[in-house]
């Protein structure tokens, strides 16, 4: 057991401290280079540095390379390559506005190293009912999974601290589930994601000093998707991600096409005089999770964030229950 504990501790400390100590200088550099965007939910003209994905990917690469030194798993290589590719795709989108299909198409390509390195098991495990062997279908699942998780996290990155805070809850839930299922090596491989998200949350929480940008959000989402595949916990991962999945589902079912958020004409949310968030009545605006939360009454940005976190905790509990159900067979 000691051979697992030491790498786990080292990688977690590295993951947390790299983000914790590199983000403040990164913010200074980004501000100096004028890489800032307006925080749309603040009354004053607040400019926030972006993208924070640079410190996130740096921490992930460092901590996972250390883990590779200990375990020499192809799964870790696949994780590093796919996550780095997702970061680069996001970084391109941060610098230059790309079309709606750019991210899904390129993220699908980014998923290929998982297949080429054989870092997957084509059995899909369901709670209570057991496994189903789907060799060909599973290849499609891998190619779809990374764009879905990447874009799902990206679509929830709409308020200060939400994407990183949500990832803290979802990724630690996934790690707990992997420990419950006694998949210890992949559980340890998954831990840096939670610690990176936690350290980044310190700077991303309201009022944000830095935004993750598409590069950060896609890095979070892609790494989460890779862990789900290499850990064989696809169903559990989807359950832990349900609030974000609902957001994407509501968005797509109201817009009825794959489209960039910035291309949508109607505004789903507006501000009251005291700058609380309020759902609009615009028919052309997409239905989103935030809009649904605000349908009852206007709330502050912080309050909406906490509602999303509570939903994430609820999904996390359902995911942990599901992990326990994996051991039960009908």
């Amino acid at each position: 057991m000691i051979e697992l504990i030491i790498p786990a501790i080292i990688s977690c400390i590295l993951a947390f401290s790299v983000v914790y100590f590199t983000t403040p200088p990164l913010i200074k550099i980004l501000v100096k280079k004028n890489y800032t965007v307006k925080d749309m939910n603040k009354k004053e003209d607040v400019m926030v540095a972006r993208p924070g994905g640079i410190s996130i990917i740096f921490a992930i690469i460092v901590s996972e390379i250390v883990l590779y030194g200990f375990f020499q798993l192809n799964e870790i290589l696949a994780l590093i390559i796919t996550t780095t590719a997702a970061f680069l795709i996001g970084y391109v989108d941060d610098r230059k506005v790309m079309g709606g299909w750019f991210k899904p198409a390129t993220l699908a390509i980014a998923a290929l190293p998982i297949i080429f390195l054989g870092a997957y098991d084509s059995d899909l495990t369901f709670p209570l009912f057991g496994d189903v062997q789907i060799p060909l279908l599973y290849l499609g699942l891998i190619i779809f999974m990374i764009p879905i998780t990447g874009n799902t996290i990206n679509s929830i990155d709409v308020l200060n601290g939400v994407a990183s805070g949500f990832m803290v809850i979802a990724s630690f839930t996934l790690s707990i589930c992997l420990f419950i299922l006694q998949n210890y090596e992949i559980a340890i491989v998954s831990l840096p994601l939670g610690f990176v998200s936690l350290a980044f949350y310190k700077y991303h929480k309201i009022p944000s000093k830095i935004f993750p940008g598409d590069s950060g959000a896609l890095t979070f989402g892609a790494m989460y998707g890779v862990i789900a595949i290499i850990g064989g916990v696809e169903i559990i991962a989807a359950i832990a991600l349900l609030p974000a999945v609902i957001n994407s589902f509501l968005f797509l079912s109201s817009v009825k096409r794959v489209v960039e958020h910035r291309q949508i004409k109607g505004k789903p949310v507006e501000h009251t005089d005291d700058f609380k968030l309020k759902a609009t009545n615009e028919k052309t605006a997409p239905v989103t999770l935030v809009r649904l939360i605000l349908a009852g009454s206007p709330l502050t940005e912080k309050q909406v964030g906490f509602v999303i976190f509570k939903l994430a905790i609820f999904s996390g509990i359902l995911a942990i229950i599901t992990a326990f159900m994996m051991g039960v067979s009908l």
Binding site: L124, F126, P127, L128, F129, G130, D131, V132, Q133, I134, P135, L136, L137, G140, I235, A238, I239, L242, P243, V245, I246, F249, L250, S253, A279, T280, N281, E282, K283, A285, V287, L289, R291, L292, I293, A295, G296, V307, L311, F314, S315, L318, T322, M325, L330
Partner: protein
């Protein structure tokens, strides 16, 4: 609204569990052997089709459920 969201999450979870069960019961034992070396491609192709049909049904049920749970709020 918040209760509705938790209800929707719970319903999605239930649908995933039930959908998974149907997948295992329908797709698990499914196999075709009489096409020589190509049997696994044909089997996989049929499994893909069934899985896609199940996903479409899952999305349709979810859409109906969304309209039912949020019928008061979804005036926009």
């Amino acid at each position: 609204m918040k209760t509705g969201l938790y209800g929707f999450l719970f319903a999605m979870w239930g649908l995933i569990i039930i959908g998974g069960g149907i997948m295992v019961v329908l797709l698990g034992p499914f196999s075709i052997q009489q096409y020589g070396n190509f049997h696994w491609i044909i089997t996989s192709g049929i499994k893909v089709t069934i899985a896609l049909v199940l996903v479409v049904i899952w999305i349709l049920i979810l859409s109906k459920l969304k309209n039912y749970i949020f019928k008061k709020e979804l005036k926009f």
